[in-house]
């Protein structure tokens, strides 16, 4: 299972700065089990946002957000409410946030930090998209993760080694930062790139001991 936990409320609110209307999206899979993005958390978030003066144009929970086809088909009936919003607040793991970003041309704010993928890549196979860093940066980068999309995992922009938009290491791979640039340009959010991202707390990438011990036999042992 992909373990996630909600970001601090202050961080979520700050990420919505300058925006009035928000659509809240949760995931009925791992995020529900993690109690970070199921219906109870989505409804609680809606209430918090409204108290903070935001208009919530709609909210829903999809199983699963990491399945792009499901995201598209489940959001279609709600298209009007989604597109009316300035942005989407997505309460789920890094894979789900990136999946939503790939399907909806709107700024996408991660409401959670992913703390463990439990050796799964969700239902979006084929590419590694989340490094369970525990401090999700997708808010600054248009829903494309610099840790996985950039070979060097650079946080403040590209290394300058790309040729014709391709990575210096793998000519068949797109430069992650050029993808981030294009995405933010389409969203009219290039100003996001001007923010200095301080050194990362890599200690958050280490899974917590209590997570490591939640294998089946550990639960059985307790019982």
């Amino acid at each position: 299972m992909v373990r996630s936990e909600q970001k601090p409320w202050e961080e979520i609110l700050a990420s919505l700065d300058g925006e009035k209307k928000v659509f809240v999206l949760g995931c009925d899979g791992c995020a529900n089990a993690s109690q970070s993005g199921g219906w109870p958390q989505v409804l609680a978030m809606k209430e918090l946002l409204e108290k903070a003066g935001k208009e919530v144009t709609g909210c829903t929970v999809i199983d699963f957000l990491c399945q792009k086809a499901l995201v598209a088909s489940r959001l279609r009936p709600l298209e009007e409410k989604v597109m009316e919003a300035d942005s989407l607040l997505v309460l789920t793991c890094g894979i789900g946030v990136q999946s939503v970003a790939a399907m909806v041309m709107k700024p996408v704010h991660p409401g959670c930090n992913t703390i463990s993928l439990g050796h799964t890549r969700g239902e979006w196979q084929g590419e590694e998209r989340c490094m369970e860093c525990g401090d999700c940066l997708l808010d600054y980068t248009g829903g494309i993760c610099p840790l996985t999309a950039c070979t060097k995992g650079l946080l403040n922009g590209p290394c300058g080694g790309a040729s014709n938009g391709k990575c210096e290491l793998a000519k068949e791979k797109d430069c992650g930062w050029e993808k981030i640039y294009q995405r933010l340009k389409e969203l009219g959010r290039l100003d996001r790139l001007r923010r200095f991202i301080p050194p990362k707390d890599y200690n958050k990438m280490r899974p917590k001991v209590e997570i490591l011990s939640t294998s089946l036999w550990a639960l059985e042992q307790k019982g």
Binding site: K152, L155, N156, G161, G165, E168, L169, C175, E178, P199
Partner: protein, 292 residues
């Protein structure tokens, strides 16, 4: 005059670079140092250039100081985590190094130890920021230093790119480096003065001196190789033709470099000559450019 002072006085500054060899033999560097003394304002020492393991930048910087030069200590983010980077900065200060250039660093797979673990604990912007914190007397964890550093911090930028996204991203990252405390920039090699001037017009507002990169061409093959394989280097076809027509290719390459330097004099604050094995010819280039 030292590098920082030369820049601050508005002199057209000349820096060049030396790459330490693989091993303990420092004779070549000592010879080059002897030839460069009094002719350049600063000498960069590359840090495991192209991810090829060799004698380190810091020891070589110290050696250059003993030879009367003002070294610019290049630091990549590839091989050291934040603990080692900060410690080496303290080491550098104690050894008399005044200037540091923060760079990302080529990925290990491009070098001769492709099986090495890449670090990139900090990126180049964060490294610039870290050095400035140390100049203020603190380490990254917020602990006070017993004796702070006093580095003149620089960074690099690629002024000519092949995509609009890459160009804008270079400018955005350059501005972030300035805000993080970079006080000078050295660039990737420039062969197209007009294209470089377009970049300078966009970067002028940042208010930091820019030293244009110069790589003397040694052959037509080298020009074509760089066009194909080195990101951010574009040798125009007319220069390649000039090289192919010339009887003495080496002399032509030096002439082109000297002409570029002359053309760049009114556009930026200095040049950074990366001679790549031709370090001993740097004084000749400067003479041809009228800067000796």
């Amino acid at each position: 005059m030292a590098f920082k002072e030369a820049l601050q006085e508005g002199k057209f500054v000349i820096t060049t670079e030396v790459g330490p060899l693989k091993g303990t033999d420092t004779r070549e560097i000592e010879e080059v140092a002897h030839l460069l003394r009094g002719k350049v304002d600063g000498v960069n020492v590359t840090d495991q250039q192209s991810a090829v393991m060799r004698l380190g930048s810091l020891a070589t910087c110290h050696l250059l100081i003993e030879k009367g030069l003002d070294p610019i200590f290049q630091m990549t983010c590839r091989d050291r985590n934040r603990i080692a980077l900060q410690s080496d900065l303290l080491n550098a200060h104690v050894l008399g190094v005044k200037n540091v250039l923060a760079i990302t660093g080529d990925f290990p797979t491009l070098g001769d130890h492709p099986d090495a673990k890449a670090v990139y604990d900090l990126d180049s912007v964060q490294l610039v920021w870290t050095i400035n914190r140390m100049n203020e007397g603190y380490d990254l964890a917020g602990n006070q230093l017993q004796g702070k550093t006093d580095f003149f911090v620089g960074a690099v930028v690629t002024p000519i790119t092949d995509t609009e996204a890459a160009f804008e991203l270079q400018l955005i990252k350059m501005e972030k480096k300035v805000e993080a405390g970079a006080r000078f920039f050295q660039t990737q090699a420039v062969y197209d003065v007009d294209a470089f001037a377009r970049f300078v017009r966009r970067a002028e507002g940042f208010g930091v001196p820019i030293l244009a990169g110069i790589i003397p061409l040694k052959s037509v093959g080298m020009a074509r190789y760089m066009n194909k394989n080195v990101a951010g280097v574009f040798v125009p076809e007319h220069l390649i033709e000039e090289m192919s027509r010339a009887e003495e290719k080496a002399k032509k390459g030096l002439e082109i470099a000297a002409q570029l330097i002359k053309d760049l004099r009114d556009i930026c604050q200095g040049v950074h000559i990366m001679a790549i094995g031709w370090e001993k010819k740097v004084p000749e280039i400067l003479e041809m450019a009228g800067l000796a």
